[in-house]
């Protein structure tokens, strides 16, 4: 306990330097901006800014990038409430009752509850990360290659279970993602693999290129083909701060949302996205007036909003303690750490305590900033929403091109990203989800590396994965989860979680 407080104190002393506060502020501001603007998400933004972080120190860089991530969650809900367009996937649920509240003239209340819920969730999630940091790292240090391999397999299976739609398609996307990560020179022998003789593919595919292709260009192709109607609320925004009574009524949904979001956020893949859906379903079930959900229930905003913010933060846990990125944003964080020469994994907390604790503390500061800066700035965000998409997307194209070129001053990366954009668009048309693809790609190289290491250690004996009790139990969890997921009953309840919303 005292250790944790001392650690957080260290973190605050790092995060509260003028430079880091400024970077946190910039991150939160950019994050809110991209969260508000439809069609550009945190993945594309962080990818664009990755080359920029080279000029910063590692702690500052991560503080800023993290700010973009949770700032975007926050901005996404603003758009969801005011325009009925979820700026981010996690704000889909908020749009339902949030926008209905806005139409009833309670936009301010919805925004205020979302902000306060997010702040409470952010505070609790910060404590959760601080508390889990040390024990999780200790566990991570016990992991050998075989255990890491099994852990990743379990993670990928859980990602499938948590994804929406067809399980077969989600599995296929993960496998395709891993296959794409195999392209390029073999990590041990340097032998070219699956390059089809293309020079462009010789060094393999950079995750940033894949991410900007499918989440940057792909989104644009999708939005142009299928324009969304924007319905900016004309009614007055009204008062932002809830009354004590309203706050008291919504405190329980906020806390429940935080708990759900924190737990699901740690899980790989769709975890952070599932949080708000689960919270909505729970609130609806617990409500005395479930039939009113969808017409502007404050609890249906407060709960899911808390859940999405908590999930955004706890998804840092696997990355910071085990070095395993659970989603695309965290994979970009790995990229940011690697350019700075820091290998993510359990050793980070020992070797770079100021980085670990500084980042954790900055999250709390960032959440405070979001409440303080954003509520007064609502008017500005509303104005920004009026920027027409016909001007927005050419700007995104230009930003993506600059970002892609800057990765390695290589124009070929832009061409590759355009191709991935088209592939992403086609996959979306065929109802494939892209998140599992990105996750498979992210974990692919690590998965193969650990598989090879484990088999070298065991002299090629594949039983090594089941003779280690830790590895065996992880695999059992994976098998059981998959078996439950494909059972007809679970299929139905999986659909229910999303259907409620």
């Amino acid at each position: 306990m005292w250790d944790m407080i001392a650690n957080l104190g260290l973190g605050l002393s790092v995060a509260l330097t003028l430079k880091n506060v400024a970077l946190c502020f910039v991150g939160c501001l950019i994050g809110t901006l991209v969260g508000v603007l439809p069609g550009v998400g945190p993945v594309a933004t962080i990818a664009i800014l990755l080359p920029v972080t080279l000029s910063l120190d590692p702690t500052g860089a991560l503080i800023m990038l993290a700010g973009i991530y949770y700032g975007a969650q926050y901005g996404g809900s603003t758009t969801a409430i005011l325009v009925n367009i979820p700026g981010e996937a996690t704000a889909v649920v908020t749009a339902l009752d949030g926008h209905a509240m806005a139409k009833n003239g309670q936009a301010g209340l919805a925004l205020g509850l979302a902000a306060i819920g997010s702040f409470i969730a952010g505070t609790i999630a910060t404590v959760v990360i601080a508390a889990l940091g040390v024990p999780m790292t200790r566990m991570g240090l016990l992991f050998g290659p075989a255990e890491y391999f099994s852990l990743m397999v379990m993670g990928l299976v859980l990602a499938v279970v948590l994804s929406r739609g067809s399980i077969l398609k989600a599995v296929a996307m993960i496998v395709v993602g891993i296959l794409l990560s195999c392209i390029g020179a073999d990590m041990e022998t340097g032998r070219e693999r699956l390059t089809l003789g293309l020079h462009m593919l010789h060094d393999g595919i950079e995750f940033v290129v894949l991410a900007m292709g499918i989440f940057g260009f792909g989104e644009i192709f999708k939005n142009l083909a299928d324009p969304e109607a924007r319905d900016v609320v004309k009614a007055k925004i009204g008062r932002l701060w809830p009354t004590m009574r309203e706050l008291r009524e919504n405190l329980a949904p906020m806390l429940r949302g935080t708990a759900l979001g924190s737990i699901l956020g740690v899980l790989p893949g769709n975890g952070a996205i599932l949080g708000p859906f689960a919270s909505y379903a729970v609130e609806k079930r617990l409500s005395k007036t479930p039939e009113k959900f969808g017409t502007g229930m404050p609890a249906a905003v407060a709960g899911p909003e808390s859940a999405n913010n908590a999930g955004a933060q706890t998804s840092f846990i696997p990355l910071l303690t085990l070095g395993l990125p659970p989603n695309a944003v965290m994979a970009l964080m790995v990229g940011a750490m690697m350019i700075q020469g820091i290998v993510p994994g359990p050793q980070v907390i020992e070797r770079n305590p100021e980085l670990f604790w500084g980042l954790v503390a900055s999250m709390w500061i960032g959440n405070l900033m979001l409440v303080i800066i954003n509520l007064p700035l609502i008017g500005l965000w509303v104005k920004l929403l009026q920027v027409p998409y016909r001007l927005l997307f050419p700007a995104i194209v230009a930003f993506c091109c600059i970002g892609l070129f800057s990765i390695s001053n290589d124009p070929a990366q832009i061409v590759m990203a355009v191709i991935f954009g088209l592939i992403g668009y086609a996959l979306w048309k065929l109802d494939f989800e892209l998140a599992p693809l990105a996750l498979g790609f992210v974990l692919g190289r690590l998965l193969e590396e650990k598989l090879r290491q484990a088999l070298i250690i065991s002299d090629g004996n594949p039983l090594t994965f089941v003779t280690s009790p830790l590895s065996a139990s992880l695999l059992v969890v994976a098998v059981v989860a998959l078996a439950i997921a494909v059972s007809p009953k679970a299929q139905k309840s999986r659909e229910d979680v999303f259907k409620d919303a």
């Binding site: 496998v175 693999r193 997307f393 070929a412 065929l430």
Partner: protein, 172 residues
Amino acid sequence: MTGGEERHAMPRSPWLGRERLAGLVLLGFGVLTLAAGARLPFFTSGGVGSGLMPRSLSVIVIGLGLLQLWLARANPGPSTGAWSLGRAIPVAAGAILFALTIRGFDIGGFEVPELGLALAAPLTIIVAGMADKDARLGELLIFAVVLSACCIGIFRYALGLSIPVAPWLIGY
């Protein structure tokens, strides 16, 4: 992640149904990667060879593709709707134009000049911007100039990226 209403229409041919197409795409991709990795060794004396992962995963993708086709045998799924590729082409063209002109490029004897950010960015913005059905050239022109100036200021000067600005004018 679902598209507009038109996606629920019946496909012209059952092979164009969304679910069947999905199966075909998986099958095709699996066959492609299997062929591309056909010569990679499964095992070597030092342990796992470079072919183990790619080849076994390709087989899994092929299997999933076949399973998907089998599952979609009765219900091939709705039509995938209009693909509106006409909208995607200007965006792709704009980005590729940027790739070609930012540092110059030599395509078989024809040399694309090195335009730098000062010209490549507005060019990209204008070409890509034409993708929208409500595009207005005049508005785009002004927007392109202003935004490009901002980009140069932010990325080159404020953030210090080593991206060429206008080599034909100022030498970098």
